[in-house]
């Protein structure tokens, strides 16, 4: 599947703001065998005084831009063409929880894909008893890890109502879980905590979601902005699987990965600071078109 993806993020400032510096993580990630980025462009207005592209600890592309002169509005546009191949099917018997625990003790890698980074806690996530109990109740004994991931994800999908007005970007996972409402960020955070409480390394994935449903298919939720889902480590043989609790599905070709991290803080599309004395309004729009 080939996609043309466009993202526009704009910040409007009540009072002109200067000396701005932003870190952007918006570009689809190159994933050998799964995602190939054939063309990409990031542009910002006002034109940045400096721009430096690099790769962060987790292997995500990041761009740092500075805009020194005072300005009322900042716009970031990303466009890219990405070829997506479905991850291999999940088959064969996997390890169970106790097998996973033994495997984890032997892990001695600090490289970005190492499951050791994903045991929690992380900048935005710390263990929560209610979520832990929920996850325990959702699984059956002896299940293998992918089955547990799916069970927890499905249970969460049923438990929490998608509601774009109930939470904001700073809402904590425990709070969203308690009110049983939230968006993809909340569902992903809750699911990560649930899996970690079972001893399964789990992380956060930010990305884009196919905008138009395939013929006869259902339009997926969460397409007007960037999307988020979860990855979980199933042991050294299976490696990582990705699951979207907002849509209760394993990841196929509808999802395009931007960044991997422990939680939202590691992958926020825009992190910025500027000299400003008034409020600001943010807007984001995403378009993911299938290229025939």
């Amino acid at each position: 599947m080939i996609y043309d993806i466009r993202l526009t993020i704009s910040h409007q400032y009540a009072v002109a703001a200067g000396n701005g510096r932003h870190v952007l993580r918006v570009l689809p990630r190159a994933l050998p065998g799964r995602q190939r980025v054939t063309a990409h462009l990031i542009a910002a207005e006002p034109a940045p005084d400096e721009r430096r592209d690099s790769v962060d600890f987790f292997g995500n592309a990041q761009s740092m831009i500075t805009q020194i002169e005072a300005h009322q509005k900042m716009t970031i546009r990303m466009s890219s063409r990405v070829e997506v191949t479905a991850p291999p099917d999940l088959d064969g018997a996997g390890t169970d929880l106790s097998g996973l625990a033994q495997t984890l003790k032997q892990q001695r890698s600090l490289d970005p894909e190492s499951p050791l980074h994903y045991l929690g806690p992380s900048p935005r996530l710390s263990p929560d008893a209610a979520i832990c109990a929920f996850a325990k109740a959702a699984i059956s004994d002896g299940a293998d890890i992918p089955a547990i991931v799916e069970a927890v994800g499905k249970a969460l999908h049923g438990h929490i109502t998608f509601d774009a007005t109930a939470t904001d970007v700073d809402t904590g996972a425990a709070e969203a879980f308690a009110q049983r409402r939230g968006v993809c960020q909340d569902l992903s955070h809750i699911m990560i905590l649930g899996l970690q409480s079972l001893g399964i390394p789990a992380g956060y994935v930010s990305g884009y979601l196919r905008t138009l449903p395939p013929p006869g298919g259902v339009r997926l939720e969460g397409v007007d902005a960037m999307h988020a889902w979860v990855r979980a480590w199933c042991g050294p043989d299976r490696g990582w699987v990705e699951y979207d609790p907002t849509n209760a599905t394993f990841i196929g070709t509808d999802h395009i990965v931007v960044a991997y991290g422990r939680d939202y803080a590691d992958v926020s599309p825009v992190i910025g600071r500027l000299r400003s004395s008034g409020g600001q309004v943010h807007a984001q729009s995403v378009d993911v078109a299938v290229v025939d």
Binding site: N19, R21, H22, E50, M64, R108, S109, L116, G272, R273
Partner: protein
């Protein structure tokens, strides 16, 4: 102090003889002399109590901790070995990761540790080493052996307090110091200072100490040590990153920085790549470090070495790395993430303190931990499950004691000492002295000063007479001052400017307050026309309540103190003391419930104090840019207030007595009478308070003074095209200079006031943001 056989150790003998030769009163006097020094120097410690913080007297124990030279050398050897070990470990943790790959360290000790900063992985320090200044807290067991209690990489270094304690002790026992063989500590700091200049490489770059700011418990120490070592004191918002270079925002524009002594917790250094909630960081700092454009003491992220659980692994790592055990052991520590260690901790629960594995607070000093005698121990049943990774057990050691003076006698109290190591051209150097913490009671655990303990100076006593650092050596620190001139940070300048304005505003309102109450005493009432006019036209519609009216000078005094606190390193201790005295007098005045008729006399007292402060500014401060901004603040505020006062008092319809009031508030009654021995009239008053060049109360006087200051500010090109601010002030000065007293109408005076405010805005835009 005592050897195993009960005899006094030789290193203590001289000092004990010395104090025993003094009668109790003399001894108390000497202690008081030391305390007086600390108070005068503003050495305080801040105590936090739920929501407020209170500054308390510095709890100096006047009895030092004395170490014999040979013992100190043994300790030093052990600590130098440990410093090398820590450098080896941190280099690996932010580099190849071999310690984890080879199984010497469990990976989760890093991956679940908030102190291990992933964005710093792969970043090599610009000046080669991660660690340049370390301190270690060590304690002595009952058997006389020393143990490392904690490794302090980023935690408060307290080096500044060591100097202050030493000065206080030399005040208390001057003659003893001259004839005993106590090692001096100044040489250590001179060498460290040289090393800082050496580390910066690029000779033009500045050196700064980065502090979290005045809200931090240790700000006074930051200010002190920065001043002592001749470095700039900056906060995160003073720094800006441009093209990968870290710059200080100064009144003369951004200036490059080449070395930073960082006292901000690593994770808070950069809100873009580290903790996004940090309000005290510098956006882009990590990116600059990645480009190796800035040297650091110590590397950002090195505080991961303070992680408690690391102590469980350092002894083995040392054996493998050095092929020999640690010369100075650390407190025996077990990380409960390992089955065998967890079993050991559970089996020996009675001899253990158990706490968080990832905390960087020494377990012995952590009030949140449940110790031997604590009531609520963590349920160790859970230890056999999963959360062992988050816990460590540490052997509870019993600390040996040191004498301290309580109620006229020497008593023995548990103590531990902090020693300091600096990397110099000749390798690690150990400060021959230190910072001791002495427990308030017998409990070896009650160490935090918050709980009533004391601090003591540590003396190393040599067998031979020691060499004092010569003055020639001190002079060799040639690079100490030259960067001072152009490097006034904009934020410091801004605070100095506002300090001047607030103090002047307070004085102006005190004069109005005094004039108002003098009139009440003379029979006027709150409803008298002039009194109404004072309250509404001159004091922003303040009510008749004397407290509300006093608020008009209380509030700016508090604000002045607040501004002064933020510039600890640039404002003289005398000036600070004067300001504190002023604020406390104003407070007493309010609390004493003084009868109305005494108000004006009491206020006169305050006014004399505030004039004394202004005198200090103009007689005692070095003519630096900082002084210039302070003086500018005073002049601009006074000129604007006088313009307002005159515009409201020379109105045609102003109440009777308005002109007298102008003279009185303008403190010009005497000079007026000397020149015009008649009743006040408008023309003479606008002349003497508006245009007179010689009257330090007139608008003109201060506009001219401000014009001269502005001409001296950095970036003002003399003889060339005038800057916006220079042009504005010259126009204003000229307008006043050529004006006839009659032309100074209320409207014109109101315009003059607006012009002065506009001037202040332009000044702020040009130099202060």
């Amino acid at each position: 102090m005592l050897a195993a056989d009960g005899s006094v150790k030789p290193e203590w003998q001289g000092f004990l003889d010395h104090i025993q030769g003094l009668d109790p009163q003399e001894l108390r006097n000497r202690f008081a002399r030391g305390d007086q020094y600390l108070r005068d120097a503003g050495v305080l410690y801040r105590q936090y109590d739920e929501t407020v913080s209170v500054d308390r007297n510095w709890p100096l124990s006047h009895i030092p901790v004395i170490l014999d030279e040979a013992e100190w050398r043994d300790i030093s050897e052990g600590l130098i070995q440990r410093a090398d070990l820590l450098e080896y470990v941190v280099r690996d943790l932010y580099g190849p990761g071999d310690l984890v790959a080879s199984g010497q360290l469990p990976g989760t000790l890093l991956t679940q540790n908030p102190a291990w900063l992933r964005p710093m992985v792969g970043v090599t320090p610009a000046n080669g080493n991660f660690l340049n200044l370390l301190s270690f807290e060590i304690g002595r067991g009952p058997d006389g052996k020393w143990w490392v209690i904690s490794d302090m990489v980023e935690a408060p270094s307290t080096a500044g307090f060591v100097i202050e304690n030493r000065v206080a002790m030399t005040k208390a026992f001057p003659s003893f110091f001259n004839k005993s063989n106590i090692y001096r500590i100044a040489g250590f700091f001179q060498d460290f200072q040289q090393q800082l200049f050496h580390l910066r490489g690029n000779k033009s770059g500045r050196i700064a100490l980065l502090s979290p700011g005045p809200a931090n418990q240790n700000y006074a120490e930051h200010a002190y040590i920065a001043r002592y070592l001749g470095m700039l004191l900056v906060e995160g918002e003073d720094l800006i990153v441009q093209d990968g270079h870290v710059m200080v925002r100064t009144v003369a524009g951004p200036k490059p920085l080449s070395l930073l002594w960082n006292r901000v917790p690593s994770a808070l250094c950069d809100p873009l790549e580290l903790d996004q909630n940090s309000l005290i960081g510098t956006p882009g700092l990590v990116a600059a470090l990645r480009q190796q454009q800035l040297g650091l003491v110590n590397a950002v992220g090195a505080a991961v070495l303070e992680t408690r659980a690391l102590m469980a692994f350092l002894p083995k790592i040392a054996r493998k790395h050095f092929g020999a055990p640690l010369k100075l052991p650390n407190i025996a520590t077990w990380w409960c993430g390992q089955d065998s260690a967890r079993a050991h901790v559970m089996a020996n629960r009675d001899r253990m303190i158990v706490g968080s594995a990832f905390s960087t607070v020494p377990l012995m000093a952590d009030s949140s931990d449940q110790g031997q005698n604590g009531t609520a121990r963590p349920d160790l049943g859970d230890l056999s499950q999963t959360d062992g990774r988050n816990l460590v057990g540490q052997e509870a050691i019993t600390l040996s004691t040191t004498p301290t003076y309580e109620n006229g006698a020497l008593v023995a109290r548990p103590m531990c000492i902090r020693l300091f190591l600096a990397r110099t051209a000749e390798g690690w150097q150990v400060l021959p002295g230190g910072y001791a913490r002495v427990s308030a009671g017998d409990d070896a655990k009650a160490f935090a000063m918050q709980r009533g303990g004391k601090v003591a100076d540590v003396w190393v006593r040599g067998a031979q007479p020691v060499k004092s650092p010569s003055l020639l050596d001190a002079g060799a620190a040639d690079s100490r001052t030259p960067t001072a001139r152009a490097a006034l940070p904009s934020r410091a300048a801004d605070n100095l400017f506002w300090l001047g304005r607030y103090v002047e505003r307070a004085e102006h309102n005190m004069r109005l307050f005094r004039a108002y109450h003098a009139r009440l005493n003379d029979g006027a009432t709150h409803g008298s026309a002039l009194c109404v006019h004072i309250r509404h036209a001159l004091m922003q519609d303040v009510s008749e309540d004397p407290n509300a009216m006093a608020g008009k000078f209380d509030a700016p005094l508090d604000q002045a103190l607040g501004a002064a606190r933020k510039i600890g390193d640039r404002f003289s201790p005398d000036g600070m003391a004067a300001l504190r005295a002023l604020v406390s007098s104003a407070e007493t005045l309010r609390e004493r419930a003084i009868p109305l008729e005494d108000f004006s006399r009491e206020i006169s007292q305050l006014l004399r104090q505030i004039t004394g402060f202004a005198g200090l500014v103009h007689e005692n401060m070095y003519r630096s840019d900082g002084w210039r901004f302070l003086s500018l603040g005073i002049s601009i505020e006074r000129a604007a207030n006088m313009a307002q006062l005159l515009s409201r008092l020379v109105q045609e319809d102003a109440p009777d007595g308005a002109l007298d009031l102008a003279l009185e508030v303008g403190d010009s009654v005497v000079s007026y009478r000397a020149r015009f021995s008649i009743l006040p009239h408008r023309r003479a008053i606008t002349g003497i308070l508006g245009i007179d060049e010689e009257n330090p109360r007139s608008i003109r006087y201060h506009v001219s003074r401000a014009r001269r200051h502005i001409a001296e500010l950095p970036g003002q090109n003399k003889g060339q095209v005038l800057s916006a601010i220079a042009r504005k002030i010259l126009l204003l000065e000229t307008e006043l200079a050529v004006s006839d007293p009659d032309a100074l109408t209320p409207d014109l005076l109101a315009k003059v006031q607006r012009d002065i405010w506009d001037l202040a805005d332009t000044l702020a835009q040009a130099h202060l943001v």
